[in-house]
């Protein structure tokens, strides 16, 4: 990221630019911007609420999948159904990289490829962890900046 962009990010009051950075890197996409746009005076913490909800729900879904992978070997339908739920959540907040891994998991299910499913699932977990870190940092910075902290937006 060039200095100019960082500066513009910092000076810009629009958090969506930050999301844009994340988007630039692929972790978050346009949908995240939309979520951010929904935040307003009436819901000042909307983004954080949604993100928190996401990690909570996705954690649950992922452990479901993990169990299913173990408990129901080769039950691709089941695996696929669970993963579809997770994919839905990812797309709702714009977690694009994680969503892509979900999709490749589903592809493996469709092919009946157990090994592929296992590999994809590991990737899903990894992306999930990375995203969590990034968003946590993001919110931390937002909080540090304070409610009026438009000037300093966290760079993801």
């Amino acid at each position: 990221m060039s200095l100019e962009r960082i500066v513009s990010r910092v000076t810009s009051n629009q958090s969506r630019k930050l999301a844009g950075i994340a988007k630039y890197r692929g972790y978050l996409d346009e949908q995240f911007c939309q979520v951010e746009d929904l935040q307003d005076e009436a819901s000042p913490n909307f983004v954080e609420e949604v993100v928190t909800l996401f990690f909570k729900d996705s954690g649950r879904l992922m452990s479901n999948i993990e169990q299913a992978l173990e408990k129901y070997p080769r039950d691709f339908n089941r695996w696929d159904t669970y993963m579809q739920q997770l994919k839905g959540s990812c797309s709702s907040i714009g977690a694009s990289r994680m969503k892509n891994e979900c999709m490749s998991f589903r592809d493996s299910c469709g092919q009946g490829n157990v090994e592929g499913c296992m590999r994809s699932f590991q990737k899903v977990k990894r992306e999930h962890a990375v995203l969590r870190q990034k968003l946590e940092s993001y919110f931390q910075l937002l909080r540090q900046a304070g409610p009026a902290g438009a000037a300093t937006r966290p760079v993801m």
Binding site: Q34, Q85, S89
Partner: protein, 659 residues
Amino acid sequence: MRAAEERKGVVPAARRRDQFPVGMRVLAVDDDPVCLKVLETLLLRCQYHVTTTNQAAIALKMLRENRDMFDLVISDVHMPDMDGFKLLELVGLEMDLPVIMLSVNGETKTVLKGITHGACDYLLKPVRIEELRNIWQHVIRRKFSTRDRANLDFYEECNKPPNADSDHVHGHVTCGSPDQSGRPSKKRKEYCSEEEDEGEVNTQDIDDPSAPKKPRVVWSVELHRKFVAAVNQLGIDNLATTYMKYRLYLKRLSAVASQQVSIVAALGGRDPFLHMGGFEGLQGYQAFTSSAALSSFTPHGLLNSPRNNPAALGTQGVPASKSIQTMSGSHTLNHSINDANKYHLSLPGNQKGNLGQGLATSLGQTQMQQKWIHEETDDLSTILSGNGLSNGMSGTLQSVTSSPLLPQELAECTQAKIVSQPSIRTSSVSSEHIEGAVGVSSGLLESRVSQQSTIPLSGFSTNGLLIHGSFNNTCANKLGGTSSSCAPARSSNDLMVARDTKGGASSFGGAMLLPPDTEQKYLNFGGGNGLKQKFDDRTADSLFDPKFVWSSVPSSQLASNIGAHHAMSQRWNNSSSNSSNIGARMIGQATSSGSTVIPQMKTDFLVSGDMSMPKNASDLSIPCSFDGLLNSIVKVEKDDVTFSDDLGCGDFYSLGACI
């Protein structure tokens, strides 16, 4: 603060209603909490009133408690406690609310499933706010459908004769009907004016997938005019396709596949339109190019055969170039008379030079019809004779057929075609049909219904007239101009009718006009059988009346034809089909004025039609003294691609010979 209020869902009811879509009450169902939360906020941002639940069971419970609590439901497809499609169905059935499906799965088959289960829309996750801003339209649309349905019910209550239905179905749906939805009537009125769809066939009903079966609509003059207007506007060439596309579009909008009901209602005709709309089927006509089909066309078949499906018509062989043609075929048959003028107008595309061709194509569909018409109507004779044709008719025909059709030509045409394939006839018929279809069909339909008894004849005459016209085109060149003589229905009632039909073809008794197939398939007009019977009854005597038919044809020729005619008639008689009888009748009736040649031709046609006359006229033992005619006919056919395909010129010759 308003935003806060709305966020909390506290929007004053009054304000909500007045400011629709602001305040529209949405019920959102999704087991995914993240999605649900985002969706809720998006909806609130659109200023809707939102209620959420993550369980379909709870949603149903809420809806059942008070269906008026919500305007719209948005539901996820994949939910653990209940399949989204199931919820969709239940809501649609029980509460008749619009339901929008949501899913991360955008596969075509899934979307299709949603549509077929009645979803009024299908959104993919993640949903964007732009998409949600327009969802209120589904509420309005459904309201209109409800309103229309209510109106229809209302009208039904104040019941009038069936004919009246067409009027009200057709476009008198107003906001005045009882407000059955319970919504403030004000809201209805707001949208009423937007929805009135006066100028066209009432398709509003189509939108409502769950509308109860609409009352049958009987063709009325009004409906007919509108139909003609629609066809004129669209152009014969594209009518069917355009209409089909529109229908498909409506299907997509429609939640449930009960379109047939609504379509029927909208079109106003149960059978006719069901069959027609079979436009789908009609399009199949185009595929038909086998002349064999024509030969298979038997009056009997036309009238009776179970092939009364449009397909049957199509099989006639004449490739239905346009669905319209098929349409027209079925319809025009009836109306050919009246709307000769219309035909002319409406068939701009087809009129290229060779009416026959146009006819042929249309004939493809209507071949049956045409054949039937031809057969039934001794009109051919009248046509050929050109006497009977009312000026109007003749004129029309002429217009259609660019070149004046000599009676002889007509006779030739008809004759030639008669035997093997009424293609010529059909062509003429088709032209009739085509033309008629547009305008006449409706008329015919009417007439059919109303006047079965009289119709047949008139139908013939009309057809005769039209046929005449068509022949004119094809044959005119050949014959050179006795077109005027082709005055159909000169003195015969048919002719008269034909003229009358201009006005409304009602007299045609559509029954006759419609090809047997048409009758059976499309209309209950008098029912094909009815017609047939009529014919049988009526023309038993007149069958062989030499007067009929080819008034314009040289008497000498006619005479011989007549003789042949008789022979043919015999054959007809032999054939079980009524159509042949009808044809005979037509002939008899058509040519009160006199030329007999034509009638024979007609009978020939009829015979062939119904007797499944082999293409080879040789089977016909009718001596043909119209070599000249045949030649011209054949020639005409050749010009007319469609014809030639179907007709098998060779047959004509033989036919002529037979005659």
